[in-house]
Symmetry: C2
């Protein structure tokens, strides 16, 4: 029985709640007990915990079935797969000093996973590595992962990091007495090369690490969070509840499609509706002993803030990599124009900027006599023409507009629009690339929307350089400047999607992507700024920026898969437009962030700066970025000579 429905058609996996059970060889009964109790699936031990391969002699091994809990006769494979996550024996210790334990562990692990595959389980829960070393465990699991079908393996990891001051003194991150469980996970998945069937199940303890430490996990493939009953507090009426921090964390799990599993014995004396305590009777019948915990989670789920409409619209784009548009080299399609024209917030910002510029340029007393020449360069199907006209109307200024557009298909639409709206007296349509157009007069105001997710990545600087010839010396460019920003992120999902292409090109491409399953590791920093108009004779659109990020020390170690990029543009004076998270224009949907991947993820230890370099390089036919890391260790320079990714001029 799902926890609830956040909105009509809610399909989030996190609606389903599981329960961890002990070994029971009457598995059909165990399942029906818990399904009736309100849970959606079991985390069930598959094999008798007393089993050890080395205790069997050869004869027994040949004649006896393995001591599994139930078979595919007591429940059908479809029941198994929809309601059971297999729990691999907890005694398994692949990195024990004792060779017999190691060998028993390897045999049992392989037997249990083979059995789970036989039952078509969707996932198995793997026991937490016992010590600080996990190489043999990872080696064995990596062997299994190579031939696993579609089953997921959830490695059980406690959400645990004690704040250890001595830590920074030791650069060896697999030292004895390691206390940051994320490092254990990190070693494990590096050994297994980020295998996409290896994921995490977090054990939520009663105390939580620092928020920045916890935040790392949202860039990782966490599939489940197991909350023990003793992590719950008790409210005034005796019911279980979670601390504020646990609540926020649980809500974040819900938002990231992470399934909750309740574990442990009931430890709250919840009054039954009839006034008797500790009874599993409710009006009309029986109640599951863990039901109060489940009810509390359902309550949390149902009272979450509803997802804003725009976010709901963008659900399907989350963490989905797209190649950036090449609007200069390619001609956009009608439907692309249509989608972007719907972004009313963007155009109202332009309208505000044009209005302010008109007021500054033409004093009230000249409003009726002076005609301002405004050129929209890259007019597309006309939304900026409309915004400019509305600004003129609003401020009572007179305009003469040139609408310059290089896409002949869009020019067709522009002509219809001008006729339809009766703008023929005011608007002149020019079918030309702004870089070549010989303008009949100079402009007071140049309006353009040539910005990409990273500001200059759709070649706004090069286009506006071309248009500078026909801007008056005291003329205004809207936008007047724009700056790109980056920040390091953990983004396991994106990394794996890129890796699946198995080539260099995809690792040296920047992607437009609605970032969701990412951990942002440090605040954004500005990268490149362009200002218009720019009359300097030595001007160049090449740029080089060296950045140093200091990751908050209570975060612990982190793995950087790449850099999230954004922009902010000053349209005119205080009117800005942008997606840089701390200053983003609300309710705008024209731009998702950009993502620059790293070919090899880089592990950053606490106290070590992350030093990053970005270049904007210009050739005769293309513009491209190169990027690299030089601290804590040097990476290759990515995208040398724009070999993998470039924007055509």
């Amino acid at each position: 029985m799902p926890l609830g429905e956040k909105y009509a058609g809610d399909k989030s996996k996190s609606r389903y709640c599981g329960v961890e059970t002990d070994f029971d060889d009457d598995i059909p009964n165990l399942l029906s007990f818990n399904l009736h109790g309100g849970f959606d699936f079991l985390l069930a031990t598959l094999m008798d915990p007393d089993y050890r391969p080395s205790l069997l002699d050869d004869d027994k091994r040949r004649s006896r079935a393995l001591p599994f809990a139930g078979s595919d006769l007591v429940m059908s494979p479809s029941q198994w797969s929809s309601h059971v996550v297999g729990k691999i024996s907890a005694w398994i210790d692949m990195d024990s000093e004792d060779e017999t334990i190691r060998e028993d562990s390897e045999i049992a692990l392989k037997q249990e996973i083979a059995w789970a595959s036989h039952l078509s389980l969707q996932a198995c829960l793997l026991p937490t590595p016992k010590g600080t070393s996990c190489a043999n465990y990872a080696r064995c699991l990596n062997q299994i992962l190579q031939n696993l079908g579609s089953m997921q393996l959830w490695l059980r990891i406690p959400l645990d990091k004690s704040e250890d001051d001595e830590k920074e003194a030791s650069p060896n991150h697999l030292r004895e007495g390691q206390t940051d469980s994320w490092e254990l996970w990190n070693s494990f998945r590096l050994l297994c090369e980020h295998h996409n069937q290896l994921s995490v199940s977090l054990d939520i303890l009663s105390s939580l690490p620092s928020p920045s430490s916890v935040a790392r996990w949202f860039g990782e493939p966490v599939r489940a969070a197991i909350i023990n009953t003793n992590s719950f507090l008790t409210n005034a009426r005796g019911y279980p509840c979670l601390s504020k921090r646990h609540q926020r964390l649980t809500t974040a799990f819900f938002n990231h499609s992470i399934q909750i599993v309740i574990s442990g014995q009931p430890v709250h004396n919840v009054p039954s509706p009839s006034g008797l305590t500790s009874e599993n009777q409710v009006e009309g019948g029986w109640r599951h002993p863990l039901r109060p915990y489940l009810d509390y989670l359902a309550h949390l789920y149902k009272t979450m803030d509803p997802l804003p409409e725009q976010e709901r619209f963008e659900l399907g784009y989350r963490d989905y990599l797209q190649s950036p548009l090449q609007p200069l080299m390619d001609n956009l399609e009608a439907q692309t124009y249509e989608i972007f024209e719907k972004d009313t917030v963007k155009y109202s910002q332009y309208q505000r900027a044009v209005a302010k510029a008109l007021m500054d340029r033409v004093p009230d007393e000249n409003a009726s006599s002076v005609i301002t020449v405004l050129m929209v360069v890259g007019a597309g199907r006309g939304p900026l023409v409309r915004a400019s006209l509305q600004a003129a109307e609003e401020t009572d200024r007179k305009l003469k507009i040139y609408a310059v557009e290089k896409n002949p298909n869009a020019v067709v639409t522009l002509h219809s629009l001008v006729k339809l709206e009766g703008w023929e007296e005011i608007v002149t349509i020019v079918s030309s690339d702004m870089r070549n157009w010989e303008a009949p007069e100079k402009a007071d105001i140049l309006v353009s929307e040539l910005l990409g997710s990273f500001g200059d990545n759709e070649l706004s600087p090069e286009c506006l350089d071309g248009a500078l010839r026909f801007l008056k010396e005291d003329g205004i460019s809207i936008p007047s400047s724009y700056t790109s920003f980056v920040q390091p992120v953990t983004a396991c999902k994106l990394y794996n999607d890129i890796k699946s292409h198995n080539d260099l090109v995809h690792f040296e491409t920047a992607y437009v992507v609605k970032l969701h399953r990412v951990a942002r590791l440090a605040p954004n920093q500005p990268v490149f700024t362009f200002t218009h108009p720019e009359y300097s004779t030595k001007k160049s659109n090449q740029r080089y920026k060296k950045l140093r990020f200091d990751i908050q020390s209570d975060t612990g170690s982190t793995l950087v898969h790449g850099f999230a990029g954004y922009f902010d543009a000053t349209l005119y004076k205080d009117v800005h437009l942008g997606i840089e998270p701390s200053t983003a224009t609300p309710n705008m949907f024209s731009w998702f962030p950009i993502f620059f991947p790293l070919r090899t993820p880089i592990c950053v230890q606490p106290g070590t700066p992350l030093e990053v370099h970005f270049w904007r390089c210009c050739g005769s036919t293309k513009v491209w970025y190169e990027w690299c890391v030089t601290s804590p260790a040097a990476s290759p320079v990515h995208n040398t000579n724009g070999r993998s990714y470039w924007v055509g001029l």
Copy 2:
């Protein structure tokens, strides 16, 4: 005029000595001056040092030739390429804070390298990076390297590392005030992805870093060593000479085909042969002012220890990667047998072992009555049969020999040999795989030579397990045990050769290779040991070993490209055979070391342990190794399931 000839036909590049010169636009004269003075090539500045692109206005830039020293008319391209290494302007500073200097640097660097390519120079010397940061320099050079033809670029790096105790406290290896020039080089080449046209020219200063720090460079692509005249001492007669450490270093350069270049002004008042000082006159004429330095180097070259014959024979195999033999799965060819049979040292060790075993097994009083049954398993073309018979003769013991061989082609040779030598009474030839043979009686002594470079890698354990059935319970196996060893190495050349295949398989294969251009970073440690006979019921030939290497702290940071592997075998009691360097059997040539590469080289900072794991895994049809690193950072597990490299059963 080469420095000398170490042996007949000496073709080492290091016979040629160069001289660094200042800018001179009469380059033909400069060249002939130095060639007559005894040098073989110039390190010559290509461009007027006053040139700065930003000082030229556009008109000048278009109408004026660049101020290069000479052209391809004053000297032919073949003269340029055989006698000149181009020195790129020393003022170039790609990572300056000053944008104009950066831009000038990039333009000049590209112009000079293009010019050097035009002249078909074999190499250019790049100026030392100015600060601790080199990312922009590396980015630009990396762009150049992508389209460079065949020219080498030698990055000039001072051989410099001050012993800084504070160092270990800072895990950031590109920190301010960096003092280990190796780290600068390391960042540079990581940024340029180990490009094989990027190499090093070391500036040798008057003081040298610790031996282990200097040793790192012998795993790097060092092409030249520039010795300044002020690094020379003065001997009793006033002549220049080098300190003992400098001498040893120079000799090591000679041995590694690293060319010496003399630089600087003459600073020694060398008496001229006529008794006058400071004159450039010799009997019969003129003497180059740097000639005493050159003469000293020629003296060093000529008085080097001559290369032992075996080393000379192996010159062609140095750093050449070979796939290990698969003698079990494949049948060896006659010429392979012939080569290995020439290793007389190996067979005399076997003869000693058999002799000792015979003496132990048969007391003198029974020598004439007892016949010892000796089986040679894997007899090949018979060398161990011969060695055993010689041992019997030497000790006056009686033998009955079974020569078991699975290669039917070798069996043909065996039959001829037995007939030729008249051994028919003593030797029984068995054409069978020892794992299947039904022996008519049991053996006292089992002799085999199934060892690979890594001991067990040619499946000696599996073969001898198969032969155990026909060894008497108190029987002797020769060898009685063997152990493999590994040590971490820097091996840039091997890494690049593997990388050139551009696939995963080659990075997950172990190679047999005569290691030469490697830096051994820590002493060997034992990995796997096998003992024969082994009667334990639970025996398995799977192995797992975790190793921890502590790199000597005065070494500084190092880059580990992989692991060199060796073996040592105990044939019988104190008679051993092996290639582990500290105990290697002298003058044996049957085995080169083995090399296990790492897919991504791992940088190890001082004070950080290197933790490595090796597995020997056994399947039903094959045996393979897996390996990984877990500290300082986790690598992928290499060769999972033997997907890239395995030995067939």
